[in-house]
């Protein structure tokens, strides 16, 4: 049975997911431009290539679940419906940013969406997520906590220490480990030993602590949805922590530490990648999860190319307005630096 036909993936879900993926993609592409124009300083990380993980995965959550994420958070926030304008404002250090400009790209928080604390320290959130799960369990709220980490985070001792506690205390926490190292210059390679991780497959590590763990293709939105929704159900039933590793292929635009946009993503690119420079073309053809999703939707007849192109245009427009909003937002007053130290 074609997964597209499955009852739980309605046409609306498909279209909405596609819309959010395109939103993320254009958000990041535009962001790279903003950086290149000098609108903000500092190091940053984009979510391009991982859209088909974050969007379906986070669609499985309840509105009040707790979500902890990392330096690579933009896609997660947008997947949950964060306003791109306020995100840009944050990344540009403006007053209208989610964190009033105090956090920046690494730390975008949006508590009303469940993003209480976003850490730029690799491994920093792993115990925090278990803690939020502990609180949910103690308070019997029915919430779960989601811990969104990269493959590299498993190299930090915080990971096994937290897995141990989550397992012993049967905490309602989902570890979603986005392994973006496949074939790229990244770290863990999924099925084989990398230069930095002797444990492979990575799912072996949580399994040692008796946490059920599985792998899924993170470029296949429907597969991600299926696995995450099933696992979230188990967690809500009180079965304790669960671990999912997703594989994506590292976007070649991020090979250097300062990303470049080889081509602006469009619906047409899904069928003809020739607009992408030679060296990036393969990725857009074979590994781009957004383009793959677009093709799947069209092939399944859930939407036409033209309909998706319309959605894409709306996304481009929304991002455009978001960037303008952020650029128009003033910098915070210097004295603002002295507030929010203590609650």
């Amino acid at each position: 049975m074609d997964p597209i036909d499955q009852a739980h993936q309605s046409r609306e879900w498909l279209i909405e997911s596609c819309r959010r993926m395109l939103l993320i993609r254009h958000f990041e592409e535009t962001l790279i431009g903003l950086q290149n124009q000098g609108h903000f300083a500092g190091h940053y990380h984009v979510y391009i290539g991982q859209e088909a993980t974050g969007v379906p995965a986070l669609s499985c959550l309840a509105p009040d679940d707790h979500i902890f994420t990392t330096h690579r958070n933009h896609g997660h926030l947008l997947a949950r419906g964060a306003e791109p304008g306020r995100m840009y404002a944050e990344i540009l250090g403006r007053r209208d940013g989610y964190n009033k400009g105090k956090g920046g790209t690494f730390h975008i928080a949006a508590s009303h969406l469940g993003f209480h604390h976003t850490s730029g320290i690799v491994g920093g959130i792993i115990p925090l997520a278990a803690g939020a799960a502990y609180a949910a369990k103690a308070r019997k709220t029915g919430q779960i906590a989601v811990c969104l980490i990269g493959d590299g985070a498993l190299e930090e001792g915080a990971a096994p220490e937290s897995f141990n506690i989550a397992s012993l205390w049967k905490l309602p926490v989902l570890y979603l480990c986005e392994n973006n190292g496949k074939y790229g210059a990244g770290r863990a390679l999924g099925a084989a030993q990398s230069f930095s991780m002797a444990a492979y497959p990575l799912t072996d590590l949580p399994k040692v602590y008796k946490i059920p763990a599985q792998q899924v293709d993170g470029t296949d939105a429907l597969a991600v949805y299926r696995v995450v929704s099933e696992v979230v159900g188990k967690i809500r039933q009180g079965q304790g922590p669960q671990f999912i590793e997703t594989h994506t292929v590292r976007w070649p635009g991020s090979e250097s530490n300062w990303p470049v946009v080889p081509v602006v993503t469009s619906v047409d690119l899904a069928w003809d990648a020739s607009a992408a420079p030679e060296k990036f073309r393969d990725w857009y053809r074979a590994s781009d999860p957004v383009l793959a999703f677009i093709r799947k939707i069209v092939e399944a007849g859930a939407a036409t190319r033209a309909q998706l192109a319309e959605i894409d245009a709306q996304a481009v427009d929304l991002i455009d307005r978001a960037a303008k909003f952020a650029l128009a937002s003033p910098f915070p007053e210097p004295q603002e630096a002295l507030t929010d130290v203590f609650a």
Partner: protein
Amino acid sequence: MRELAYYEAKLEGLREILAADERVHFITEIATGFLGLSPHRVHFRQIASSFPDRVIAPPISELAFCGVAIGAAMAGLRPIVDLITASFAFEAWPQIVNEAANAFYMSGGQTRAPVVFHLLHGLRGAGAAQHSHSPQAMLWNCPGLKIVLPSSPRDVKGLLKTAAASDSPTVFIDHVLLFEYRGSVPENDEAIPFGQAEIKRSGADVTVVATSLMVQRSLAVAERLAKDGIQVEVVDPRTIVPLDFDTIMGSVEKTGRVVVVDECHQSCGVAAELVARIAEAGFDKLKAPIRRVVTLDVPIPFSPRLEEFVSPSEARIAEAIRAAAR
């Protein structure tokens, strides 16, 4: 008012806090937590068994279990988490100084982390280099943490209550050598606000600013020096974040002579900051250089003779006060 031993007041405070607020959970090793290896630890075990779902023993994973407490605080609980020996806080350093301390600020005021870290600091006798730390200076260098240093039965109970009710991450730093001190503790619930120094003893000649166990040690010295005609005023900040600098300066203006007594190592210790602030604000008022009595800048030796030699002992406190009074 009734008299209690310090450890009794501390236990009473914890029991009342746990009874009053279901959101308080205490992560600690049941056998040696809260009161450390003191002989009174059996009483803590009784509290633990009164609240079996809320007093919980973690693995030896300080980094993770502190992070769990912080995360739980972000999600609606008010956890107290016990590092027991303050030196073990280093294992959890990234969570305390880089997650908890920054959470409220970094989120632009969105996320509160009302967690209390409980630590037993200082030279406890034979703790040697790895179990004798006083990390309050390092922590004071991390804006975002409230820091509590009780020194009397009444303070330990009252400050513990305020810590448990605080909306900001709070480091509660205690000292096992205080446990036997006795003092009056009001019957009725009395929380002590943060940021209120207490003049533990009045005197016109020399101001001693002291924290934690050093308050008691300074008081003992002050009694002795009174017989020699030196009237010592002992000011106990009780919390260094927030710091009640006004009360300190009030005393400095009165005496013009200051000794700061603190158990951190000298360099960049709590005393260094107090001296720096007093020297700046009191430039015109000081009649003698400010003196520090602190732990000498060497790792803590095991042998009791050596430990005594490097510590801010009564002998060294007395000497500094005499020098200041001259």
